[in-house]
């Protein structure tokens, strides 16, 4: 099946984007990206710390995997712009997840500063992915300002609470003519699957994979679940009903006919409220 998400000319087959934070080692992270066949991975930028491991994370990102730099650490639009420019100078390409956070407890994004950063960076030619609190009105402005996709959060970063914003993400999927990529809070493959079933273009998962007991296996699980959800979306999901509907035929039962007034119908009738 030909089913690609196309962003800025890149055709993306695997709709599970993976964040590279919190893995116990870059080697395990690499293995997770490989096993999940990830095509997009996020990376952060920080001041060098001479005391830390000398490994270069870029050596552990598979060739075929597109890097998207996040602006984590930015508290306003200016800081986000500064990080984006540094990332580009560092040969990390021009895909930027704009993340502007002023709230230390719930790590909820600042939609207004994020919008400002989108305006600046889109004009400079960056491919921008704003991470935001779900808000249709501001998402429309993000689109007008040149965002390439919208990344609403499912629940607070790293909380593993799932898609607590479902109603509003569905509205965004229906109303915004850009890929909607759920980012943050997804804790289980079933939740990622659900995002895809309602029509999201992709999901970004980090914590739930990186801190599981077996991150490589969990990366594969998320990857399969995202694919399953996408397939289901494309297959046409039947709606839920109030009542039951037999899956086996309702005729040809092997049973003796019982005299009227003695069978099931009248029985259950007698318990129904008048």
């Amino acid at each position: 099946m030909e089913d690609f998400l196309e962003i800025a000319g890149k055709k993306i087959g695997n709709r599970l984007f993976i964040g590279t934070g919190k893995f116990s080692s870059y080697a395990i992270m690499k293995r997770a990206l490989e096993v999940a066949k990830a095509e997009v991975a996020t990376v952060a930028l920080r001041r060098v710390d001479a005391s830390l491991k000398a490994e270069n994370i870029m050596d552990y990102i598979p060739q075929e995997c597109k890097v998207m730099i996040n602006t984590s650490g930015a508290r306003d639009a200016d800081e986000a712009v500064r990080i984006a420019r540094l990332a580009k100078a560092g040969q990390a390409g021009n895909w930027i997840k704009i993340e502007v956070i002023r709230d230390n407890k719930y790590l909820l994004p600042d939609n207004i500063e994020t919008l400002k950063a989108v305006e600046v960076l889109a004009k400079e030619g960056f491919v921008v992915f704003p991470y935001m609190s779900p808000d249709l009105s501001i998402a429309r402005r993000m689109a007008d300002a040149g965002a390439s996709a919208i990344m609403p959060l499912g629940s607070p970063i790293g909380s593993n609470r799932g898609i607590k914003t479902r109603e509003f993400i569905e509205i965004m999927v229906n109303e915004i003519n850009l890929p909607i990529i759920v980012d943050a809070g997804l804790g289980k493959p079933s939740e990622a699957c659900e995002c895809m079933e309602i029509g999201c273009a992709a999901v970004l998962v980090n914590t739930a994979i990186a801190v599981s007991e077996d991150p490589v296996k969990m990366a594969k699980a998320f990857s399969q679940a995202v694919y399953a959800g996408r397939l289901a979306y494309l297959s046409g999901i039947p709606t839920a009903g109030k009542f039951a509907s037999a899956s086996s035929p309702l005729t040809g039962f092997l049973r003796e006919d019982k005299p009227q007034g003695d069978g099931l119908a009248s029985d259950s009738q007698s318990h129904k409220k008048s």
């Binding site: 590279t20 934070g21 930028l45 001041r47 001479a50 540094l86 560092g90």
Partner: protein, 66 residues
């Protein structure tokens, strides 16, 4: 000579250029990006960029993040 590196004051040799600075700190030229007095310096200019007293230098690199 006192300069500010990554938010902290640090004593370095006078007239150090950026390549020398990176090597002196035991870092790899390939994997870092330098901002000198708020201007990002392309790698080809590093050798000609000499530090002055009170300069502000940011040396950053990529790490895992979500």
């Amino acid at each position: 000579m006192l300069i500010n590196i990554n938010g902290k004051p640090e004593e370095v040799e006078i007239k150090l250029n950026l390549v020398e600075l990176i090597l002196a700190k035991g870092l790899s030229v390939e994997r870092v990006v330098i901002e000198h007095n708020l201007r990002i310096v392309p790698k080809e200019e590093w050798i000609d960029t000499r530090l002055q007293e009170n300069d502000k230098v940011e040396i950053v690199s990529f790490v895992g993040g979500g």
